[in-house]
Symmetry: C2
Subunit: 446 residues, 2 copies
């Protein structure tokens, strides 16, 4: 653990890239497998998004050797496939989040890993391992860049994510240690991505940028391109040029031999504002409440961190999009068992659903600054006078099987039977190849 002793970020990342499979923590590996399925579901659900269509048009015009599968389109060169798949899978903003990294790992890194894996004929397990090591690298680089980087205006998904994509693609391209250093050096001069794109197609494009940069830099290093020796922390490297207040040691501890920070990765389970998720989880986690008739509930008090009240407490949403920001509507939907994980149910019809409007009249929402922004507390009064006290904390670690079940439900909500097939075929990756995964990704016609 030379890097822990000497505090060298690039040494740690280069070492991570070469971790043998046996050194990967079991739980992190299983989570990385769940991330794969979740990433595929998010991507397949977005193939008709305008952004996805435009990017496919770009690479379709370019054409080229089809070695990697493209969401909703024909196979393409690895770099082009990574660009499209990264952007497409982030188009719904429904993919996973790592809060310490401050970004979305799957959408920047899996497209690079899968494209490189398909190109080189890797197994699916090798793709998952490469993703995991890329993600772990990206988390640690994101920590060193720190909140100062994010607050200045950079988007870790794109910036730190590009290094993760480089590690993942580089591992699958078989780079040796010197080549991996060069690939990271090239990535230092190639990585980019700003938060000022939020609210435009530029946001999902950022994920595609990360993925395609990773493939390009890894491929060039494989061809022998030279670059700075330490593109991360070296003089005028990526970190000192892109963070006004980097935390040089934040990414080094605990060393990855002891713990993978990827274990804290979080999954979006509902296609609505994150501020409402703790409430929804509290409701659907209650055997007394979930699936009951709305008429059985006499009153519902929701308590949340006060910051959310300015974000997602719309009392009478007018559109499907506004429903995603309404505690009152979402509470009724969750109680009666609507599939809040299905992006397709947030329609204007839902906004004008009279049963939900009636129920909303029984809901009060109050701010409680003792709650974190990942927590919610509920007091439910049933018609028979029973009172239920419910609570949920999104930060709590879900039992793995429960997480898997929720993600399977999400995939089915998003994709219908294709979501079932996705899980049946790929929950166990034994004997599966990268090209099998790719064939499934490319199978959904736009």
């Amino acid at each position: 653990m030379k890097y822990a002793r000497e505090g060298s970020l690039i040494d740690m990342v280069v070492a991570l890239a070469a971790f043998p499979r046996t050194a990967l923590p079991d739980r992190a590996r299983r989570l990385a497998g769940l991330s794969l399925l979740d990433w595929m579901a998010c991507g397949l659900a977005a193939v008709d998004e305008p952004l996805a269509i435009k990017l496919r048009r770009l690479i379709g015009d370019e054409a080229g050797r089809g070695v990697a599968s493209v969401l909703g389109g024909r196979a393409a060169p690895a770099r082009a496939a990574a660009l499209v798949n990264g952007a497409t899978s982030h188009a719904l903003d429904y993919d996973d989040t790592h809060f310490a990294h401050i970004g979305h790992l799957s959408v920047g890194i899996y497209p690079a890993a899968l494209a490189a894996g398909e190109e080189r004929g890797a197994t699916a397990t090798q793709v998952v391992d490469a993703f995991l090591l890329g993600a772990e690298s990206a988390i640690r680089i994101g920590l060193v860049l720190g909140s100062a980087h994010y607050n200045l205006g950079f988007h870790q998904t794109a910036t730190a994510g590009a290094f993760g994509a480089t590690v993942a693609a580089g591992r699958l391209y078989g780079l040796d240690e010197g080549q991996m250093r060069a690939a990271l050096g090239l990535c230092a001069t190639r990585a980019s991505g700003l938060k000022s794109q939020f609210g435009t197609m530029g946001k999902p494009y950022n994920a595609g940028i990360a993925a395609s940069n990773g493939v390009e830099c890894a491929a060039l290093a494989a061809l022998g391109m030279s670059s700075a020796d330490d593109g991360l922390m070296g003089v005028q490297g990526f970190v000192p040029t892109h963070s006004p207040k980097p935390d040089a040691s934040a990414g080094l501890m605990p060393p990855p031999e002891e713990a993978f920070l990827f274990g804290d990765n979080k999954y979006k389970l509902h296609a609505c504002c994150h501020g409402t998720h703790a409430m929804i989880e509290a409701i659907i986690g209650s055997e007394d409440l979930k699936g009951s008739d709305l008429g059985n509930v006499a009153g519902l008090e929701v308590r949340a961190n006060p910051r959310w009240l300015r974000v997602c407490d719309l009392k009478t949403p007018r559109t499907g999009l506004e429903v995603k920001f309404s505690y009152a509507w979402l509470a009724g939907m969750a109680i009666r068992g609507d599939r809040t994980g299905d992006d397709g149910i947030y329609t204007n019809e839902t906004a004008s659903d009279t049963a939900l409007a009636d129920f909303a009249g029984k809901v009060t929402v109050t701010g409680d600054d003792r709650l974190s922004d990942m927590q919610a507390g509920l007091t439910v009064t049933l018609r028979d006078g029973t009172r239920l006290e419910l609570a949920h904390d999104l930060d709590a670690v879900l039992p793995e099987q429960m997480l898997a079940d929720k993600l399977r439900n999400k995939a089915e909500a998003l994709l219908g039977t294709a979501g079932q097939t996705l899980w049946q075929r790929f929950e166990d990756l034994d004997g599966v190849t990268a090209r099998d995964l790719g064939a499934f990704l490319g199978s959904r016609e736009s």
Copy 2:
């Protein structure tokens, strides 16, 4: 001139992109034409550089629709061609420089303009105009980013250059004003490039990055991609995130309707250290000295800014590369008429040339801090006792015909008869198409 009144950089750049041909200053247009020929010569001379071969291999592996010519290789998609041609033409570091912009304009912007122009069937003149407007935009963005950006570690060639490439490609793709704003917004999240690559293949790669980013962002905007409204100076736009001390007004004055800053573009005429160029120009500008026998010179005193003495005053160079950093050797070569513009003459044989070694014994070099780093003073004593006082200032504006003659000589020194053909066919661009230029670029087999 709304932008001058309101001080909006992006408004100015969008207006520049739409300048009618008739609004372009004549001298700037002619200089842009010289830049085209110089850029082509630098690129054609570098097709066998290892970096160029590797990048061609990358895009060759990808293949794709061949709509744009590639230096030393087969036609490729516009984005891929721009990547290779940008990097290849910067590989010898022999291309033009704009000191206020702090970077190299041709290598980041011409490859984007030419690739987009070939793809769309433009005339060569349209390519030159698009380059000029992209270059003028890049200069002004570079001025706003300022020396703080450069000193922090960014490479304006790549960063401001990407915006110039976007303007050039976007103009040739026929973007309307809204699309041009979107293209610049996308470029804000795509542009990158660090100086820590200097001394590695990452430096010329930066020029290719700028060019390919410009093509990609312009193409995506043409397809309707949305982005931030002001990706330059807006909240968390490119400038505030990439310069600790931007000079918001530096790029706006004088407004481009009054003067193009591109007129200050400088050309490298000798394939050796920039610190020796003023001495060489003083020698070859002297009718009494140029081409004379080395034996006719009894003594030569060279005065230069003291900073150069640590850089290019090697007394006895051991290799061809070291010859490029030796006043004494280069003085002898310039006097006897060696083609200092030919990268190929800096060989180990030249380093062990006994006539040059003898002559070097007559040369003294002294620092003089009254001289700028672009000036040199020489005192020559001939065998017959005559004393000559010579001086040169690289900052002085060359008469256009003299500059053209020197660039023609440079092209011939670099390329031999192909350099002659280049000038014969393209000095006058009347009736020439972008594809004619491309065919010539692609004609030199590697």
